[in-house]
């Protein structure tokens, strides 16, 4: 240890000193750091983060930069940034996570046969629903058949021109002049 007199100037005094920490401050999570930036921590936790920030120049720089950015209006981001970021999550993810067929799978008993077995059971259920639907639609089928076969029945047109023109036509071809 140096035995020189400590400097008069505050800055020089501080810069001639070094912290004597027996234990390095604990790691700080992003959420803890964010809460500290907002001043939302109880006193003991604040002191812990203060200690971590005091010993870490990178955290001091981060704190200053973030406080500055969060305290003022932000310029718009380039459109490409949002376009690229949106593409990271597709509807496929939504389908996978929300299990859109979950309501139907929930009706089925839970088997230990795994996903393959469950898929087979789902397919069977779908076939059954289709069959029931086909049977319920029988009335419609009958009326369709009736219409179809009715159109195939022979029809007799008794008087296609509406009036009896036989005599008049005969008159045209007879040599009555």
């Amino acid at each position: 240890m140096s035995t020189e007199r400590t400097p008069k100037n505050d800055r020089d005094l501080w810069q001639s000193l070094a912290l004597d920490r027996a234990v390095a401050p604990a790691a700080v999570s992003d959420l803890e750091f964010a809460a500290w930036l907002e001043g939302n921590l109880p006193e003991t936790e604040t002191a812990r983060i203060d200690a971590a920030v005091a010993t870490n120049p990178e955290m001091r720089l981060a704190a200053m930069e973030l406080a500055e950015i969060l305290g003022k209006p932000l310029p718009a981001a380039p459109d490409r940034m949002a376009v690229r970021a949106k593409a990271l999550v597709g509807f496929e993810t939504e389908r996978r996570t929300s299990r859109s067929f979950g309501w139907l799978a929930g009706l089925l008993p839970s088997f230990d046969g795994g996903f393959g077995f469950q898929r087979g059971a789902m397919a069977g259920a779908a076939v059954m629903i289709a069959a029931v639907g086909f049977m319920m639609g029988g009335g419609l089928g009958q009326s369709y058949a009736h219409e179809k076969y009715a159109s195939a029945e022979p029809t007799t047109i008794t008087n296609p021109l509406g009036v009896d023109t036989t005599g008049q036509l005969n008159d045209l071809f007879t040599d009555s002049l």
């Binding site: 240890m1 140096s2 400590t6 008069k8 100037n9 505050d10 005094l13 501080w14 810069q15 001639s16 000193l17 070094a18 912290l19 004597d20 920490r21 992003d30 959420l31 803890e32 964010a34 809460a35 930036l37 907002e38 001043g39 939302n40 002191a47 812990r48 203060d50 200690a51 005091a54 120049p57 990178e58 001091r60 981060a62 704190a63 200053m64 930069e65 973030l66 406080a67 500055e68 950015i69 969060l70 305290g71 932000l74 310029p75 718009a76 981001a77 380039p78 940034m81 949002a82 690229r84 970021a85 949106k86 990271l88 999550v89 597709g90 509807f91 993810t93 996978r96 996570t97 929300s98």
Partner: protein, 181 residues
């Protein structure tokens, strides 16, 4: 446009596409600002800013939105947490990029030099200063920040910064038997 604090976090964390899209639109200005600022000292270009911002979004949705699920709205605002995450991701991005691209010939000699002079400093005993006093002295003298900046960061009055600084110096001078100027 949806504000960040209007985003349905539960829906976001399960990957609903529309919620994600709204989140991206709301978060992009903040992530852009944080990434741009974080990369400014690394001298990287606009394309790097876009790539680093994309890294932030990738982090948020990776592994079934694991990082987003760690966010707790009762502890900090979404904007603040997101800014911390974005800065961390941007700095990681810059370090990776610099490691892969910087040529040793481009680094100034002064940056590579190792100082030979060994200056032994007086040790401040543990517990002599409070953590807050130490932090304020660090910001004032090591970071050369002014009182107003420190007050804004720590959400305290400028006068509190000054008095904390004054009390800390008194303790140091008293401990090292130095009269106040």
């Amino acid at each position: 446009m949806t504000e960040l604090n209007q985003i349905d976090l539960r829906s976001l964390a399960v990957g609903h596409k529309r919620t994600w899209d709204a989140f991206v639109v709301a978060a992009s200005p903040l992530i852009n600002a944080v990434v741009r600022r974080s990369l400014s000292s690394f001298r990287l270009g606009d394309d790097d800013v876009l790539d680093a911002a994309q890294d932030v979004f990738v982090r948020l949705c990776a592994n079934d939105f694991r990082l987003l699920k760690t966010y707790d709205p009762s502890r900090a605002g979404l904007s603040t947490w997101l800014a911390v995450v974005a800065r961390s991701a941007a700095v990681d991005f810059a370090r990776r990029r610099r490691q892969t691209t910087s040529n040793i010939d481009d680094v100034p000699e002064s940056a590579l030099a190792v100082e030979d002079r060994h200056v032994e400093k007086l040790r401040i005993p543990d517990g002599l200063l409070t953590e807050r006093q130490t932090l304020i002295l660090k910001f004032l003298y090591d970071e050369e920040r002014d009182v107003a900046e420190i007050a804004q960061l720590l959400k305290i009055d400028a006068q509190t910064v000054r008095s904390t600084h004054h009390k800390a110096l008194l303790r140091l001078r008293e401990h090292f038997r130095e009269d106040a100027p």
